[in-house]
Structures are given as structure tokens and as C-alpha cells.
């Protein structure tokens, strides 16, 4: 009896009030799917989304600091959900990846020869943007949540307390408001998480590392002549650099560097490499970027991203290692919504029904760390780099050839498959045999050239 009373106490009812802190993809996916699911079971909820950003502004006021790639699998999943990404939001459909190494460059085409990766801007675009034809991705999602019935309120969270078993929040300059549920989607780059850590109810923010993102204005014609519809990725022997990419957008190009505490020296070392220069326009100067930021990125998730009547969503809970952060926002939002609507809003419900999906992402990241470690070793050995280049070139030039290395790198760069899948593909006997054969073949070619 007591148990069922407790369970009922934590169930949302008609008129229950939900506050979502953060209007980025985690917050809007959560609000959108919460209202969508509630509608299916005739549950009437009141959802307020709080965010201080204006997504129609250029530069930092409208930006959520991100490379801006919607992965192949997320594009398909969102389409299945009925969320199409229009060409007013997607600045460029990506149809291939260019892998650059000191040994040369090779193009990895999408398996279906179809544009299924979207390059977007989270805000209106870089500081001083010269054209405004495209919409912000975050603004577009926020619009969808609004259309579903969410109320969007501009504000910054200042205080959280518990009153009569319910969370009470106060926005800067506002009056205290009580809610039945808080969805925290504030992201790792905000100070709001400290407020929840200070509550001492078990939440600890994720571990993070610094990344580097900068924007160059090239103009659309120049982008089409140089970078095209390909995302450019790099396997270079640069210590601390795990992954670097150049992403063509509408008129701008985003450069993204991920690794261990990226600093100015590493940025300069990467941007002045000949491999980077050869895919940029001839008159390009590495330090003439129009906008830059060094946001933090989740590298290890929170150990308890939930408490009674509070669930953390997106990267303030868990994310995917180095890739597909927006995909992780979607998955955590869906896992949170299922628990909220069907099971209740107690810490126990979240632990039993949302946490397994979160933990799955974290477990996969552990495998991801092993893969990045292996790739790090390969990056250091020129012979290995040549073997990779040779293997991909053969695979891409012959339609009938199995695309083992291409698929591994495609999934790794795009974030389309879980790291677990990539790991098993990497350690498949056929993959290993083919890779060893390519190493031996590269040694032969190298010796022949030398002699």
C-alpha cells in the first residue's frame, strides 16, 4: 500500500508542471517527445523551457558551441520520428569524407551515395555572419517544441531549492516557481550544474576536456571548388590531438579539434600542417578566423544524473565520446521521457528505466577510448598510415571489393555506429588479415622506392 502510494505520488497527472532548463537539442527533444508521448495517452502537461540564448543572434549570444554535424543515423532516426531537417536549417548535405594523412588523401564515399549527414549551425552563425538565409538548428527544434505546446521563457537559472517535496526554481530577476519535474539540459558549458551539485543529492557534473572550434568565411563558390560536400578529417602524428575535422557549411567553414586539453600551440601546429593547407583555398591564412571558441566536452558522464523529480539530459548527464553529441541528446531525452510518462518521476524510476540507456552510452564510450588509443598508435607509425591509405584507396576504387577499412573509418568519423560495432569490425579476422597484407605490401612498395 505504501509502495503504491509512493509510486502514485511520483506520477505526473493532468496539469502537472514541468520545467526544462536549457533550450538546446537535449531540452527541446525532451520537451517535444514528452508532450508528444503525453498526448498519445491523453495526459495534459504544462512544459516551460528556460534558456537565456537568442538563437537568431550571430556569434556567442546565439551559439551552443559545437562542430554542427547531424550524424547519418540521427538524420534517419529523426525522419522516422517525423522530424525532417529542411534545407533552410541544413547548410550542407555531406556525401563523403576526405581522410588526410602525410602519405596522401583519400575520399570515403557514403555507402548509399546519398546525402545523409547534415552540417548545421547551432545558432544563427559565426560572429558578423554575412548572410541570414539559414536558420539555427537549435532555434528550429525549439520551434517544434513550441508547436507541440511548450512555453519558451528567456531566463537564466539562479536558484534551486526543494519545498514541500517539490523543486522550486528561480530565474535571474524572477519570482520562485514550483514544478512537479525538472528536466535539466543545461550542458557542460554552463554554471547551472553547480547549483545541482550543491544540493548534495548525488549529482556530480561530468568530466570534461577542452576543445577548439573556429570559423572561416570562404563564400559558397570557394567552398564548392575546394572542400565540396565532403567533411575533411585528419590522421596526423600530433600529440594530444585525437580528432580534427574541417566541415564545410553554407558560406563558412568550421574547423574542429578534439583531444586532451587543446591549447593555442596545438591549434597552430594543426592549422599550419601541409595536410590542412592543401585542402584550403590558396590565399587562406590560418589565424584569420572570424569566430572561435574553446568549449568543454563531456569525456566521462555523471555517475548519478537523476534525483527525485529531476532528470539530467544530454551532455550534462552522458554523451558520446568525441562524436554525435546531438545523437546522445536525442537518446537520453527519449530514455528520460519513457520513464517520466510511463513510470514516474522518482529517482528510483529514473534509475530503473532511464539509467540503463545512459549507461549503455557510457559503456560504449569505454570501448571508444580503446579505439581512439589504437588509432593514436597508428597515427604515430608512418607505415601504418600508408597501409590505411592503400587499403582505403583499393576499396574505394573497386566496387566489388569489400569495404572493411572504409566502413570502420566511416562509422568512426560519422558517429553512425556504436563504438562496440566498430571495435568488433576492427578485430574481425578478415579485417586484420587484410590490414596486415596492406602493411606488408606498403613495406614492399617503400623498399622498392628506396632501392
Amino acid at each position: 500500500m505504501n509502495n503504491s502510494n509512493t509510486t502514485e505520488k511520483y506520477k505526473l497527472k493532468d496539469g502537472s508542471r514541468v520545467a526544462v532548463i536549457g533550450g538546446g537539442p537535449s531540452g527541446t527533444f525532451f520537451s517535444y517527445f514528452l508532450l508528444n508521448m503525453a498526448e498519445r495517452i491523453d495526459l495534459k502537461l504544462h512544459v516551460d523551457i528556460y534558456d537565456s540564448r537568442d538563437f537568431s543572434s550571430d556569434g556567442p549570444p546565439g551559439c551552443n558551441m559545437c562542430g554542427g554535424i547531424i550524424s547519418e543515423s540521427l538524420v534517419q532516426t529523426l525522419a522516422t520520428e517525423g522530424i525532417d531537417l529542411p534545407p533552410t536549417v541544413v547548410q550542407r548535405g555531406i556525401e563523403s569524407y576526405m581522410l588526410h594523412m602525410d602519405a596522401g588523401s583519400v575520399q570515403i564515399k557514403t555507402p548509399t551515395q546519398e546525402k545523409r549527414i547534415g552540417a548545421i549551425y547551432r545558432g544563427a552563425g559565426p560572429r558578423g555572419i554575412k548572410e541570414t538565409q539559414w536558420e539555427s538548428f537549435d532555434g528550429y527544434l525549439l520551434g517544434l517544441a513550441k508547436d507541440k505546446g511548450a512555453h519558451v521563457i528567456k531566463g537564466r537559472l539562479e536558484k534551486v531549492i526543494w519545498k514541500n517535496g517539490l523543486p522550486e526554481i528561480q530565474m535571474k530577476g524572477g519570482t520562485p516557481l514550483t514544478y512537479d519535474l525538472l528536466g535539466i539540459a543545461a550542458g557542460v558549458n554552463t554554471s547551472a550544474l553547480k547549483l545541482f551539485e550543491d544540493l548534495k543529492q548525488g549529482y556530480t557534473p561530468p568530466k570534461t576536456t577542452k576543445t577548439f572550434i573556429c570559423e572561416y568565411y570562404f563564400g559558397r563558390e570557394t567552398i564548392e571548388k575546394t572542400l565540396g560536400n565532403s567533411m575533411h578529417t585528419f590522421l596526423l602524428d600530433l600529440p594530444r590531438l585525437e580528432f580534427a575535422a574541417i566541415i564545410p557549411k553554407g558560406d563558412y567553414v568550421t574547423t574542429c579539434m578534439l583531444g586532451k586539453d587543446i591549447d593555442k600551440d596545438l591549434v597552430q601546429a594543426f592549422l599550419t600542417r601541409p595536410e590542412v593547407k592543401r585542402c584550403m583555398p590558396k590565399d587562406w591564412k590560418w589565424d584569420e578566423y572570424v569566430c572561435q571558441c574553446m568549449p568543454r566536452m563531456n569525456t566521462k558522464g555523471s555517475s548519478q544524473p537523476f534525483m527525485d523529480r529531476t532528470i539530467f539530459i544530454g551532455d550534462c548527464a552522458v554523451s558520446r565520446l568525441y562524436k554525435d553529441g546531438i545523437g546522445a541528446a536525442y537518446r537520453t531525452a527519449k530514455a528520460a521521457v519513457s520513464a517520466v510518462v510511463f513510470e514516474g518521476v522518482s529517482a528510483e524510476s529514473f534509475k530503473e528505466f532511464s539509467w540503463p540507456a545512459y549507461k549503455k552510452l557510457e559503456k560504449d564510450n569505454k570501448i571508444g577510448k580503446i579505439i581512439f588509443f589504437a588509432v593514436g598508435l597508428i597515427q604515430k607509425i608512418p607505415l601504418m598510415r600508408r597501409a590505411i591509405l592503400k587499403m582505403i584507396t583499393t576499396e574505394q576504387n573497386r566496387d566489388d571489393h569489400p569495404k572493411r577499412m572504409s566502413v570502420v573509418l566511416w562509422d568512426m568519423f560519422t558517429g553512425s555506429a556504436p563504438y562496440r560495432t566498430i571495435f568488433f569490425r576492427m578485430f574481425h579476422p578478415f579485417f586484420l588479415a587484410s590490414f596486415i597484407w596492406n602493411i606488408v605490401s606498403s613495406i614492399r612498395i617503400f623498399r622498392r622506392r628506396k632501392s
Binding site: 543515423s73 538524420v75 522516422t80 529542411p86 534545407p87 541544413v90 527519449k334 519513457s338
Partner: protein, 128 residues
């Protein structure tokens, strides 16, 4: 400000008027979502083509291949220029396994189509 074309931002494949997207009898391992334009679904019965439906933006087709192993039961052609996104069976089924609510919209659409078929059958029976 000069108005620019946003065709760089289109996702999926673009099909010309009359171009086949799916052919009846072919094996299928994906479904499709219409991102822009219209498509027509039809069955070939001998030399005749029987139109089954015209689907607008936001609709999907080929979903039977996701849940069955059979061949395509009908052909689909673009009406005017159509932009269509391919949704892989493997990716979709993996996601549905992780999050069964993802299948709600597919079920909703399939249920809607069964309703329409019921109405059609009732109409046909009443005329026989």
C-alpha cells in the same frame, strides 16, 4: 541582400519526374521518407498499372521491407521532382530495439493505411 539557393542543404536523393525509386518485385532492405515533392505508388498487373496512392512530403513508403523478408509489393515513382531519404533497415531495427517508442509513428501510419484500405474494401463490396 542577394538571395541564394539553398540546394547545398538538401538531404537524401533527388529523383526526376517519372524516375523509379522502388520497383515491384525487387528485394528491399530499407524504407524511404519523402523530404520534398510527391511520389506515386502503383502495382503492375500484367500490362496495366494500378495506382494505389499518391504520397506527399512527410510520408514514408517501403516500410513493409523493414518488418518482412518479401520483395517490394509495389513500384514507386517521383511525380515532379522529389527528394527522398533512405532509412536503413539495420539502423532502424537497432534503434527500435533500444527505444520501442520509435516505432509508434510507423505503426500510426500503417494503422491509418489499414483504415483507408477498410474504407476502400467496403466501397468495393457495396458496388459488387
Amino acid at each position: 541582400m542577394k538571395k541564394k539557393s539553398k540546394d547545398s542543404g538538401y538531404l537524401g536523393n533527388t529523383y526526376k519526374d517519372g524516375e523509379y525509386i522502388v520497383r515491384q518485385g525487387e528485394p528491399g532492405n530499407c524504407m524511404y521518407e519523402i523530404q520534398g515533392g510527391k511520389v506515386v505508388v502503383f502495382r503492375s498487373e500484367g500490362a496495366d498499372e494500378i495506382q494505389l496512392a499518391e504520397l506527399p512530403k512527410g510520408e514514408f513508403f517501403g516500410e513493409m521491407a523493414i518488418f518482412e523478408h518479401g520483395v517490394r509489393s509495389a513500384s514507386v515513382r517521383a511525380v515532379g521532382e522529389a527528394r527522398v531519404l533512405t532509412i536503413d533497415k539495420k539502423i532502424l531495427l537497432r534503434r527500435i530495439t533500444q527505444d520501442p517508442t520509435l516505432a509508434f509513428r510507423i505503426l500510426e501510419k500503417m494503422s491509418h493505411r489499414i483504415r483507408e484500405l477498410d474504407t476502400e474494401i467496403a466501397k468495393l463490396k457495396s458496388t459488387v
